[in-house]
Symmetry: C2
């Protein structure tokens, strides 16, 4: 179990991978982000991307799940506070395999809650060719070891 006290700016963690299938892209588009370049292979051909691409929101979910799966911030989190600067520098195409590098950023104690810390994370998601497809910052409230003593 990792507590606030165990996290130091600059610590870096790497996740396993997930392959993004055409089916996953279309199903996600159907439910959450129905735009031609996410659901329609023919229309997607004449889009900016030249073919179907993952919704940025799906890429974001995959990024988050990979971190949760690796227990990077899930076991000690009290609450998620939000995301900043979520960017999608390159599109994700069917068949791409994504992995995440998560780096601890600024860490501070909460002003309002005595036994809780605020931890910032920088996440970078890359495909199998090392292209950056998603970057974001997020903030979590994390339990302090003293809170469990």
């Amino acid at each position: 179990m990792t507590f606030f006290e165990n996290l130091q700016p600059g610590q870096k963690y790497f996740t396993e991978g997930i392959t993004i299938t055409e089916d996953a892209i279309i199903r996600f588009g159907l439910e959450w982000d129905f735009q031609p370049f996410h659901v329609d292979k023919i229309a997607a051909k004449s889009s900016l991307f030249g073919g179907l691409i993952s919704s940025g929101l799906l890429t974001m979910l995959v990024t988050f799940r990979l971190c949760v799966q690796a227990n990077i911030f899930s076991r000690n989190a009290v609450a998620g506070l939000g995301f900043k600067e979520v960017r999608f520098p390159s599109p994700v195409y069917p068949g791409n395999t994504l992995r995440v590098a998560a780096t601890v950023g600024q860490c501070r104690l909460s002003k309002s809650k005595p036994e809780v810390g605020i931890v910032n994370w920088g996440l970078e998601t890359k495909d199998e060719n090392d292209r950056l497809v998603c970057s974001m910052e997020l903030s979590n409230m994390v339990r302090c070891r003293t809170a469990s003593a």
Copy 2:
């Protein structure tokens, strides 16, 4: 069909609603954000929130889908550029019904792509008691009317 030229800062759109069920919260947690306060009613009771709450990512997806459903930015979008300052000021509990107010922010022509504009949107998601549960900014590339002439 709305083009870049039709969008002016300050224009405001309102969506229909979606009710967030307990089942939706747990299924989403199971797939994307497995944390006790999203999947385990018993553990969630002793969490900061006193019960199961929606993952912020689910609240974000619902927000986006409500806007797409209302054709607010889907029919003319060339690509989504990213999200800024995604915040979750209040938790979403099972049974809450969410609606979104979308406001056009800064609009400018793309420097690199001649017939494309960049439109910023401010989204605010509220529950049936008018509590703000999610706010975010997003940027879209939007087709100009001249591009279709």
